[in-house]
């Protein structure tokens, strides 16, 4: 073996070692974190009609989810970026325009000032946004023991579990974008569980799905079996409420989801056809050149 090839062997081994280190690091890190930090939220993936490249919202589910939001969540959570008219938009819960008019009129909306300079309440119109339950952040905190109920407009896109290697690679390939509704579903259904020995929540409520540094959150269990009456015969259980309202909140966060996925399919098919034609043209043009 001459000096040069020895050097190569050493180099090759060094490179292999560095490569292995980089590959193994994330796995070791994950294991270590789980061992030392103790608390990691438990979030079980659910199956959703709107997942995947052909995903569509289930209109009946969104209507049920709206009912749950309106009768339960809306007591504390605002949804300021969503307008009543959106409820009849394409790709949404599929209410008719008349239904939306009636439904909006059921809300009291503050308007004004009028000619006398006073603010006044009037029935809602489809163009109004959902009114917020509290006048401001201070009022919301005062009514909720210091906790601030987050606005629900884009909540389903504002929560995610840690994207660990190699899971985040699979997420890209498998188009996993449903961590928000998965989280909301798990959070609502994970109340009332017995905390493990040594875990207590001096302030707040124990919930092993909560994304935070501890499994304790300010919100008490928001809903019980039977809290909301469903009109379509769906069983009035916490599980169904959680599933329906999670789907509804995915829609409020991403109202153009169906349009996006449909457009995407057309665009990608077009691009693949274009790329194939270009490929053969390019081959033809280059066929007389050795390269």
């Amino acid at each position: 073996m001459n000096a040069n090839s020895k050097r190569m062997v050493l180099l090759r081994q060094g490179l292999l070692a560095v490569g292995l280190l980089v590959l193994v690091m994330p796995a070791v890190a994950a294991a270590q974190e789980a061992a030392t930090e103790g608390y990691l939220p438990t979030i079980v993936k659910q199956s959703w009609s709107f997942a995947g490249p052909f995903g569509k919202f289930d209109k009946a589910q969104l209507q049920r989810g709206y009912k749950v939001y309106k009768e339960v969540c809306a007591n504390c959570h605002s949804m300021k970026f969503v307008a009543f008219r959106n409820l009849s938009d394409e790709g949404g819960p599929g209410f008719t325009e008349d239904q939306v008019k009636t439904l909006a009129a059921g809300y009291k909306v503050q308007d004004g000032p009028n000619d006398a300079g006073d603010m006044f309440d009037r029935p809602g119109k489809p163009s109004d946004h959902f009114p917020s339950p509290f006048a401001n952040e201070k009022a919301a905190r005062a009514a909720n023991g210091g906790g601030l109920p987050p606005d629900m407009s884009v909540l389903a896109k504002a929560r995610s579990d840690e994207k660990r290697f190699p899971q985040w690679l699979f997420n890209a390939v498998l188009q996993y974008q449903e961590y928000g509704p998965d989280y909301i579903y798990n959070l609502i259904t994970s109340y009332g569980k017995e905390p493990p020995v040594g875990v207590t929540c001096p302030t707040g409520n124990y919930n092993p799905a909560f994304i935070g540094t501890t499994p304790c959150l300010a919100m008490p269990q928001p809903i019980q079996d039977g809290s909301v009456t469903y009109d379509d015969g769906t069983k009035p259980t916490i599980d169904n409420y959680a599933r329906d309202v999670s789907a509804f909140l995915m829609w409020t966060a991403e109202p153009k989801l169906e349009e996006r996925k449909e457009t995407g399919l057309k665009v990608i098919i077009f691009l693949i056809v274009l790329a194939s034609l270009l490929y053969f043209t390019k081959r033809r043009v280059w066929s007389n050149v050795a390269h």
């Binding site: 040069n4 050097r7 190569m8 180099l11 090759r12 060094g14 490179l15 560095v18 490569g19 280190l21 980089v22 690091m25 994330p26 890190a29 270590q32 490249p53 970026f81 969503v82 959106n86 987050p150 606005d151 407009s153 884009v154 909540l155 896109k157 504002a158 929560r159 995610s160 290697f165 997420n171 890209a172 188009q175 996993y176 974008q177 961590y179 928000g180 540094t213 109202p255 153009k256 349009e259 996006r260 996925k261 457009t263 995407g264 399919l265 665009v267 990608i268 691009l271 693949i272 274009l274 790329a275 270009l278 490929y279 043209t281 390019k282 043009v285 280059w286 050149v289 050795a290 390269h291």
Partner: protein, 413 residues
């Protein structure tokens, strides 16, 4: 360089124009007859992909600016307005946000291509320097663009990065106040970032023109690193390179479309869907993925000023690469040692990127320091030394002969 054909004005109008402004001839010699080495591989299509991305970002950006409001009380709501009420607003915004990531993916491939094939070496030093200026402008543009949606990560990312200038002795805090236009990141900061975010892409476009100009003076490098010796070695840019570039760009856009249409929020941070709140600091403040290697370098240094110097140094050092590399051989294909160190550098850069996303604690910090040290050693020690000790493989006499050696057997069989 020797051209394949020259432009001769055909019509009377072209002759008239050519005597006053020879612009058609300029375009012809730059994009039609421009001699292109015939052995370029697909890594050479990223220049075209980057041009396409720049155009895409400017077009979507201009349309977004028509609907966006740069005001700390209204910015977040105006982005939601774009997503909900503007026709195809979701496409503009997701296309622009993911477009930034695609831009950086392409630029990193483009830069590593340059490092592997020694594309920065004599006479292409100025070409490389102009490319580095574009990279710096891109980083500034990307950083300021990320602040505009005014989510939590926008606000806190801006706070962390602008605060870095506070590490400068004596005048640091004054500089930070000057950058912010106040005593914290706020409405004046958002306004100037919007203004600059709109300005910088046009500066990038300007430097791109210089970059292409420099390229067309010295000609393209190629996988052998041997300059073209005759017209045998080259093909005219059109139709050969044009078609290959358009094909590669359309494949790249399939990849891009996957992100826009199916996983638009994959590369973003969920915290940026929470409106900026100066009273609530997020648990982990993480920059966009394309800054993570530099962020890891920043955090690996225990001293704030030292960290800032190392982070900016890691970028500024790249300007000196043409002079740090002492080897006369361009392509790593003929440099048996450098080739290995190149791939180690790639792994180290990815490793630093991964570490930049982790919390800086325990052994992460140690590994970050190790990789940071290696990153600097690669450029400051290994690169200059390799050129002196390495025995390169014999270079092919010309591009044509290299191609013949590769495809000859097939041709004669």
């Amino acid at each position: 360089m020797q051209g394949h054909s020259t432009y001769t004005p055909g019509t009377a109008f072209e002759r008239w124009l050519d005597r006053r402004l020879p612009i058609v001839g300029l375009v012809h010699s730059s994009f039609v007859s421009f001699p292109t080495p015939k052995n370029l591989n697909y890594f050479w299509t990223f220049g075209a992909i980057l041009s396409a991305m720049l155009v895409w970002q400017i077009l979507t950006g201009i349309m977004l600016a028509m609907h966006y409001t740069p005001n700390d009380a209204l910015a977040f709501a105006s982005v939601e307005h774009i997503m909900r009420d503007v026709n195809y607003g979701w496409l503009l915004r997701y296309g622009h946000a993911n477009g930034a990531s695609m831009f950086f993916i392409a630029v990193y491939v483009h830069m590593f291509r340059g490092l592997y094939y020694g594309s920065y070496k004599e006479p292409r030093e100025v070409l490389w320097l102009l490319g580095m200026i574009i990279f710096l402008l891109m980083m500034a543009t990307g950083f300021m663009g990320y602040v505009l949606p005014w989510g939590q990560m926008s606000f806190w990312g801006a706070t962390v990065i602008t605060s870095l200038f506070g590490a400068i002795p004596v005048v640091g805090q004054s500089i930070v106040t000057w950058l912010w236009g106040g005593f914290s990141v706020g409405d004046p900061t958002l306004n100037r970032f919007f203004s600059l975010h709109y300005l910088l892409p046009f500066m990038i476009a300007g430097v791109v023109v210089l970059h292409v100009w420099a390229l067309h003076v010295v000609g393209q490098n190629n996988p052998t690193g041997v300059e073209p010796k005759s017209t045998e070695d080259t093909v005219p840019f059109t139709p050969y390179a044009t078609l290959k570039d358009i094909f590669a760009t359309s494949v790249f856009f399939v990849f891009f479309a996957w992100f826009i249409f199916y996983i638009p929020n994959y590369l973003g941070d969920p915290d940026n869907y929470v409106e900026a709140n100066r009273l609530a600091t997020p648990a982990h403040i993480v920059p966009e993925w394309y800054f993570l290697p530099f962020y890891a370098i920043l955090r690996s240094i225990p001293d704030k000023l030292g960290g800032v110097i190392c982070m900016f140094g890691a970028i500024v050092m790249l300007f000196a690469v043409p002079w740090l590399d002492t080897s006369k051989v361009r392509s790593a294909n003929y440099r048996p040692l450098y080739r290995w160190f190149f791939w180690i550098l790639v792994i180290v850069a990815i490793g630093l990127g991964w570490l930049g996303a982790q919390e800086p604690k325990d052994w992460y910090v140690f590994i970050s320091r190790l990789l940071t040290a290696y990153y600097f050693i690669h450029f400051l020690v290994i690169l200059p030394l390799l050129g002196l000790i390495e025995t390169p493989k014999p270079l092919p006499p010309s591009i044509s002969e290299a191609v013949l050696a590769k495809t000859g057997q097939q041709a004669h069989a």
